[in-house]
């Protein structure tokens, strides 16, 4: 077990290192001078040089990279060029939007998909199943940002139940903020739900065909126990993997959906930061997102142990 841990953590760190280096290198060669962007198009070369020196942009690659990683490791991080504040604080403040958004989306997705998937599996090839599967096909085909737009059209433009976007801020209005996240989280969640429903269904179908399900029935267990205790626990294993992988998809979806709903989240931050050449922000968010995905998957791997004893190695 310890070997396994050490091995995987080593790989994890190596992966993060490679990602950080890649991102840094990519942004290093990216055309566009941050100093010029800060100072605007009419700035003099002299001012530009002064600012570049101040930002450390005149240093060679490895020195800059070392500085950056050093900063990250000591918990200081770098400062946003644009906002003149630690990127860390910026990420934390934006995470206050993206985090709940992703969480709500996952919750939506899970509460919709798992019961639907089980239902469909139990009613395989019957009308209920076909309807559910039809909807998931539609869900898979619908771009989430379009669903977002449609929801705005219906709920904001036509019925005026929600505002068409924007985010009041948690401290200004908790309820209002929650409401602002509702539609985007729903749009994100419904699409995820389609994938998870299909997966739950097929996984459940596979499990229900297993010999131990027959054994459980032969023991005289109630069908409910058979499905939810003997079946679900096994069926959830592949679902869990996909849920882990979905985090990456979800972050990607968040970038787009935050743009549809004008939510001041991480996705929008990185999208804008690239436009503004706020390199420290871009770098750290990309590394942060990649790390989040990798680490979540790492933990998902571990969660197997709790569900599937076969993964528990000595």
């Amino acid at each position: 077990m310890r070997r396994y841990l050490i091995k995987n953590i080593t790989i994890l760190i190596l992966l993060l290192f490679i990602i950080s280096l890649t991102v840094f290198a990519i942004l290093f060669v990216l055309p566009g001078d941050p100093a010029q962007i800060i100072l605007g198009i009419n700035a003099t070369p002299e001012t530009l040089a002064n600012l570049r020196a101040e930002l450390g942009l005149d240093q060679p690659f490895w020195v800059q990279y070392g500085h950056w990683i050093g900063g990250l490791l000591t918990g200081h991080g770098s400062r946003s060029i644009n906002y003149d504040m630690p990127v860390y604080d910026l990420i934390v403040s934006r995470l206050a939007v993206t985090g709940p958004l992703a969480l709500m989306a996952i919750v939506f997705a899970v509460i919709i998909s798992i019961p639907l998937g089980i239902y469909a599996a139990q009613h395989q090839n019957r009308p209920g199943d076909l309807i559910v599967m039809g909807f998931t096909q539609l869900g898979l085909a619908t771009p989430e940002f379009w669903l977002g737009i449609l929801l705005i059209l219906i709920f904001a433009v036509k019925w005026r139940l929600f505002s068409a976007g924007g985010f009041p801020g948690w401290d200004v209005s908790f309820g209002g903020s929650l409401k602002a996240l509702l539609l985007p989280a729903f749009a994100l969640g419904v699409i995820r739900a389609s994938i998870i429903t299909r997966l739950t269904r097929s996984s459940m179908l596979e499990v229900l065909r297993e010999d131990y399900i027959r054994t459980a029935r032969a023991k005289g267990l109630k069908e409910r126990t058979v499905v939810y205790v003997h079946g679900l626990k096994n069926a959830l294993i592949p679902v869990l993997t996909i849920l882990g992988l979905q985090l990456g998809q979800l972050l990607a979806g968040a970038i787009i959906i935050e743009n549809v709903y004008y939510l001041p989240g991480l996705g929008r931050l990185v999208f804008q930061a690239i436009g503004q050449r706020d390199l420290p922000v871009v770098r750290e968010i990309v590394v942060f997102m990649a790390a989040a995905v990798i680490i979540v998957n790492f933990f998902v791997d571990f969660t197997y142990a709790f569900i599937d004893p076969r993964f528990r190695k000595r």
């Binding site: 992966l15 085909a141 771009p143 379009w146 449609l150 433009v157 990607a252 990309v286 997102m289 998957n297």
Partner: protein, 274 residues
Amino acid sequence: MKRFFGNKNFLVGFILSAVVLGMALTSLVWTPYDANSMNPRHRLESSSFHHPLGTDQYGRDILSRVMVGAVNSIVVGLVTVSIGMGIGVLLGLAAAYFGRFADEAIMRFSDLLFAFPAVLSAILITSILGPSVINAMFAIGLFYIPIFSRLTRAVATTTWKREYVAAARACGRSEWAIVGRHILPNILSPLIIQGTIQFAVAILAEAGLSYLGLGTQPPDPSWGRMLNEAQTFMDMAPWMAIFPGLAIAWAVLGFNLLGDGLRDTLDPKMVRVR
């Protein structure tokens, strides 16, 4: 053929994607209006006989733009799948064949790609190379590499373990001959199925990137970008937001179903049941 069309998924998928394909091909020779021609007098008109899907803020015919947009989507699908498949299959074969170290390295590389939220990397890529449909295709194709390499690796590893491969080896066939005669034919069906599905995914991805302004550039019509432009006109001209989105969903649904249908009919497991 009959066994394909007997499958409902395939049949519906075939019809849906044939419509998209037909629209794209027609648009090469004829569209109701020039898709890019502006007509200030007919701005933001809703559906009418002259403009079945209405017009946009420049008075351009949305039907014509949706038709031309289909070409764009199909090209994106073809190119990205080719990139992903071409490189992915090679990597997957290499991983399966060499095993151990190479396998681990190649699979870690694909983990790496998997770990990056694709849109994020696409944003990065297009911001280095500039937003254009070519760069968007490159970005999407890049993310297809691990998908195809994993698929290839999985099928190739199991196929390589099959006894008929051992039999071929036992009678002295070279590894290349085995790849050519046994491995590739077995990978073919899953590749076709996966390719069709990734084709659909590419249409979605390109729409997303174009929606963010990172894909197809104006004035070329792209479904995603049309949605982007539609958003500020939503209360005035909702049709601008509805039809391009419908087109995306239609095409993606079509190719997804086609893929599912192919899976139903081509999957070797099904063959064995017979």
